[in-house]
């Protein structure tokens, strides 16, 4: 279980929804919709306490401020149902989303979320609408979508600059330090903070390779972040007598984590993600490619005392 990149979990709407809303300029600017929520605001929205964009709930609209009058404005003058799209299958995106919501739901006196989980909790509000694997984007952009909002990784939003284009636009969120931050790669890096990779024998425990940051404290941090991981085997079988898989995976990791042209990191940034810190890259290469005293380097099996075969 090796972290591969850091990601924000964005709150995204369609361009049509953005046009339908009264979104006032956010300060600082950021995200791709301009929509900005306070912590209590997005907490209420994502626990079913706010179900219409014309809600006058002061927490919900507190960041939608008229720059001239200084007065918070409604997102919609007319009723516009607010529906929350979520994944119905086992989803790591849902895992990162639910771990954060569990951590901050006291901000709106809710107990809906029951900890980090790959599926959403039971008893969801009636305005939550399920979507299967990869379909939250469709829930946001599909038929009758105006008013829908959902959680998405940045590569499925307009923050990605690669093709095919993804039109969903993202919101800014107020973090634990009461600072507005967009779901940018920089704010994601800040969100994962200064957590060091495991050292020594701690590297032998896979769980130590996945730090969880439920609610970053840095003023520079986007509040909903996490590492996504790749799981590899220590030992692989040969393919037609040739070391294809272990060789290919070691080679891929070496390129992805230490390419001198920095292309792998540029690709991540183009998709809206943040690369791993240098200390994590080195630790992964030392442990799983070069090999250290933990004897966990990826190779062809079987290896006496390590594995009886290969994947």
């Amino acid at each position: 279980m090796i972290p591969s990149l850091a990601t924000p979990i964005t709150l995204a709407i369609s361009p049509d929804t953005a046009l339908a809303l009264n979104i006032l300029p956010s300060i600082p600017a950021g995200g791709t919709s301009g929509l900005t929520f306070s912590r209590a605001g997005y907490c209420k929205m994502l626990t079913g306490q706010v179900t219409d964009w014309n809600s006058a709930d002061p927490d919900f609209i507190s960041q939608n401020v008229d720059p001239v009058s200084g007065v918070a404005q409604l997102f919609s003058i007319d009723p516009l149902p607010l529906r929350v799209g979520y994944r119905s299958d086992g989803s790591g995106t849902a895992f990162l989303f639910t771990q954060h919501m569990t951590a901050i739901q006291a901000a709106c006196n809710s107990t809906l979320y029951q900890g980090a989980a790959e599926t959403m909790p039971a008893g969801l509000p009636a305005n939550f609408t399920s979507a299967s694997s990869g379909r939250v984007e469709a829930a946001i952009l599909g038929p009758d979508h105006v008013g829908n909002i959902g959680y998405l990784s940045p590569d499925f939003t307009a923050q990605s600059s690669v093709v095919p284009a993804h039109p969903a636009v993202t919101a800014n969120l107020v973090n634990a330090a009461n600072v507005v931050q967009p779901p940018s790669p920089q704010a994601t890096t800040a969100g994962m903070g200064n957590v060091d990779p495991p050292t020594g024998t701690d590297r032998a425990n896979p769980l130590n390779w996945v730090p969880l940051v439920v609610d970053p404290v840095s003023p520079s941090a986007y509040p909903m972040v996490g590492y996504t991981t790749q799981e590899f085997c220590t030992c692989y079988n040969v393919t037609s007598g040739t070391d294809v898989k272990a060789n290919g995976i070691r080679g891929y990791l070496t390129w992805a984590l230490s390419s001198p042209d920095a292309v792998p990191d540029l690709v991540l940034n183009d998709n809206g993600f943040a690369p791993l810190p240098a200390s994590w890259k080195s630790a992964i290469l030392d442990t799983f490619v070069t090999g250290d005293a933990n004897n966990l380097q990826i190779r062809v099996g079987p290896v006496l005392g390590v594995c009886s075969g290969g994947a």
């Binding site: 694997s133 590569d155 290919g248």
Partner: protein, 138 residues
């Protein structure tokens, strides 16, 4: 977008196929060779969150997937990876199916490819998984 290096490779492959087929008069071999060309050498699946990005990096490191059988979007090669020196290893082809972290973890632990519900990206084995959630004993 298809990279220049891929276009060159395709031309060479096509020329060799024409020569081979002309020599033996076995045009059916074209299809057989095409299937072999598309066979991924390293396969995995799981989290949909990083799936497009993983595929782009796999297409930089190894030979890019082609279409068909993979979806057209999977053939994308980032512009940074069209220069001299890419792909890093032209003998490797990766395929990654988007099935969600939960199914990806299950496939990885059991090797059961029947849990791959990404019909556009069939897997014959599972060599790795992608997940945004911790993989625990539960």
């Amino acid at each position: 977008m298809i990279s220049n290096r891929w276009s060159t490779t395709k031309l060479l492959v096509f020329a060799s196929r024409i020569a081979f087929a002309a020599s033996f008069g076995l045009f059916g071999m074209l299809a057989i060779e095409a299937d072999a060309q598309y066979a991924p050498s390293i396969q995995g699946g799981g989290a949909s969150l990083p799936a497009p990005t993983y595929r782009q990096n796999f297409n930089c490191y190894g030979m890019p997937l082609t279409n068909p059988p993979d979806p057209a979007a999977d053939t994308y090669v980032p512009s940074q990876c069209t220069d001299v020196g890419y792909p890093i290893d032209s003998t490797k082809i990766f395929r990654y199916s988007s099935v969600g972290s939960g199914r990806g973890q299950y496939m990885y632990l059991t090797g059961d490819t029947s849990y791959n519900n990404d019909a556009a990206r069939p897997l014959s084995e599972v060599n790795f998984a992608g997940s945004d959630a911790k993989l625990t004993q539960n």
